[in-house]
């Protein structure tokens, strides 16, 4: 499903490329719950941004279903791969419904009107994460754990085969972390989604993941 070949990730400072990690090779399949591990600053978020098309690879390539992600249009990629980032969202009257419905953005018209089918998909995503009773609540009124679930529901509404989560447990307590990971595990086993999740919680990762990608100093990459 996802193949990474001789990938070098980083960013550009003016015209000069700044390499963060290089020589990355891996192959990830549908149904995998992949734990992305490594110390702070090693390049996990840069890898995730590259994987989701927010940064372009410095060299090498990432293919998704046999096609390089740089060849996907933004709209096409949005129907294949969704992301949950660490940054909290809120304000502007954003309700749970609004955020989950945003997952339908790649499929709806320019005026943002949801069809009946779109609404059914949003409701299904809310139900899957037990968020339906909260649908009219403002995002600002939710706990951190509930917010993360809303963002995952947004990814479900986006109907992508790949979901990437950057540090989703950063603001969560012990029980919320376990609940979140059990939801992710369920999505992999029942719906065959490929989920890539970065976290520093090694114990939690070991309990739930079935694949691991560890990034270490000296561009050492361990894929199990």
């Amino acid at each position: 499903m996802i193949a990474v070949k001789q990938l070098e990730i980083g960013y550009r400072k003016g015209k000069h490329p700044v390499s963060v990690f290089s020589n990355m090779n891996m192959s990830l399949d549908a149904g995998d719950l992949v734990g992305l591990m490594g110390d702070n600053g090693i390049g996990k978020s840069t890898f995730i941004k590259t994987l989701t098309g927010n940064l372009t690879p410095l060299s090498g390539e990432i293919t998704l279903n046999g096609k390089s992600i740089t060849q996907y249009s933004a709209q096409e990629l949005a129907t294949q791969l969704s992301v949950v980032v660490t940054e909290k969202i809120g304000g502007f009257n954003l309700s749970v419904w609004d955020v989950v419905a945003a997952g339908r953005t790649p499929y709806i018209n320019i005026f943002g009107k949801l069809s009946e089918d779109d609404e059914a998909i949003v409701i299904k995503a809310l139900k899957q994460l037990n968020l339906l009773p909260l649908k009219d609540k403002l995002i600002d009124e939710l706990s951190d754990g509930q917010r993360q679930k809303v963002m995952i529901a947004k990814s479900l509404a986006q109907q992508t085969s790949v979901i990437v989560l950057d540090e989703p447990t950063a603001f969560l307590d012990h029980s919320s972390r376990h609940h979140l990971f059990s939801v992710l595990k369920q999505l992999c086993t029942e719906q065959g989604k490929l989920i890539i999740v970065s976290s520093h919680d090694l114990e939690l990762m070991k309990t739930y993941i079935n694949r691991s990608v560890t990034m270490a100093e000296g561009n050492r990459l361990e894929v199990l």
Binding site: T52, I89, N93
Partner: protein
């Protein structure tokens, strides 16, 4: 927000606009009802003075509110607005430069050329400042920093404008000062036809951005991952804002408060984040606010037109502060 509630609210706001337009046309130093309809004075007052003023109030109010909404959504910052972030100051400075140039080369007799130059300069000034603010916002995501940079840019441009005013003739200085206070009462119907196409083009362009604006409220990374071309969205918003603020400022002067407060009030009153609803409400509410301000100006002083900025700021700012304190909801 349900479809029924959206339609009902839209109808209420439209009725309010009709009522305010009627008041704005009727109130003034001359009582229109005391004149015969066939009286040339009636025709002159209604069609040459009051109608342009009323239409200008609608265009200016709606346009500035739309700009405020677009800027607040793009920067995800409820404090953003054309006046606060210095965009109006950029337009003002460039209008001052254009006025100086026109008076120095003596083309003031050529109405269209003069108006076109002033308008183009005004758009250029607004565009210039919006670009600066956008570059700052990309370097530094902090809302307070963005606001402070906007205020500082506004101060610098204001100082430069002061310098130009200091060097200008007595006639030009008087024009600058009166224009700088903001007014919808100094336009002609020809000026209105200048503004209307730009206004409608901006509104139509704004409606085409609704899906992208809804997505960018999450954040830029999410919006991009949802298929939004964020760079194209930024450029489109800069162009819309610069065109609207430029044109409105060229004809009405820098109008304070409307661009920042109407989107805030709209979010507090109508409790929706969807940009189809917000855009319609901001356009209607913006027109209501400037029309109401103009009516108040007439009521307070029949003989001497008060500057519109005085009313929009004195009445509007406390209302927004009250709404912010009263509401437990976050607006940004």
């Amino acid at each position: 927000m349900t479809k029924q509630r959206f339609i009902a609210t839209t109808i209420y706001l439209m009725l309010l606009i009709v009522a305010l337009i009627t008041c704005d046309l009727c109130f003034g130093s001359v009582n229109l009802f005391s004149l015969d309809r066939s009286d040339p004075l009636f025709q002159t007052i209604l069609y040459d003075i009051r109608l342009p003023k009323t239409l200008t109030a609608v265009v200016a109010g709606s346009g500035l509110a739309l700009c405020g909404l677009l800027m607040q959504s793009l920067f995800r910052n409820p404090l953003a607005g054309p006046y606060v972030l210095g965009v109006s100051s950029g337009a003002s400075l460039f209008v001052a430069v254009a006025t100086m140039l026109i008076s120095s080369v003596n083309i003031s007799g050529f109405y269209f050329m003069g108006k076109s130059i002033v308008t183009l300069f005004s758009i250029g000034g607004a565009f210039f400042v919006t670009l600066i603010i956008l570059m700052v916002s990309r370097k530094n995501k902090n809302n307070v920093t963005l606001l402070l940079v906007g205020l500082m840019v506004g101060q610098v441009l204001g100082a430069l404008q002061g310098l130009i005013e200091f060097m200008s003739s007595a006639d030009n200085l008087k024009t600058f000062i009166l224009w700088g206070m903001g007014s919808v009462g100094s336009t002609t119907l020809t000026d209105v036809w200048f503004m209307v196409p730009v206004f409608f083009a901006a509104v139509i362009a704004g409606f085409f951005l609704i899906r992208s604006l809804n997505a960018i409220l999450l954040n830029e990374q999410y919006a991009q991952n949802l298929g939004v071309n964020v760079n194209r969205l930024r450029v489109t918003i800069i162009i819309i804002t610069a065109m609207l603020v430029g044109v409105i400022t060229a004809f009405c002067g820098p109008i304070a408060f409307v661009g920042i407060s109407v989107p805030i009030a709209s979010r507090l009153f109508f409790k929706t984040s969807h940009h189809l609803h917000q855009m319609v409400f901001c356009l209607l509410l913006g027109a209501c606010v400037v029309l109401a301000a103009d009516v108040i100006c007439q009521l307070v002083s029949n003989q001497l037109m008060l500057p519109i900025n005085t009313v929009t700021t004195i009445i509007g700012s406390p209302v927004v502060i009250y709404l912010l304190f009263k509401s437990k909801l976050s607006v940004g």
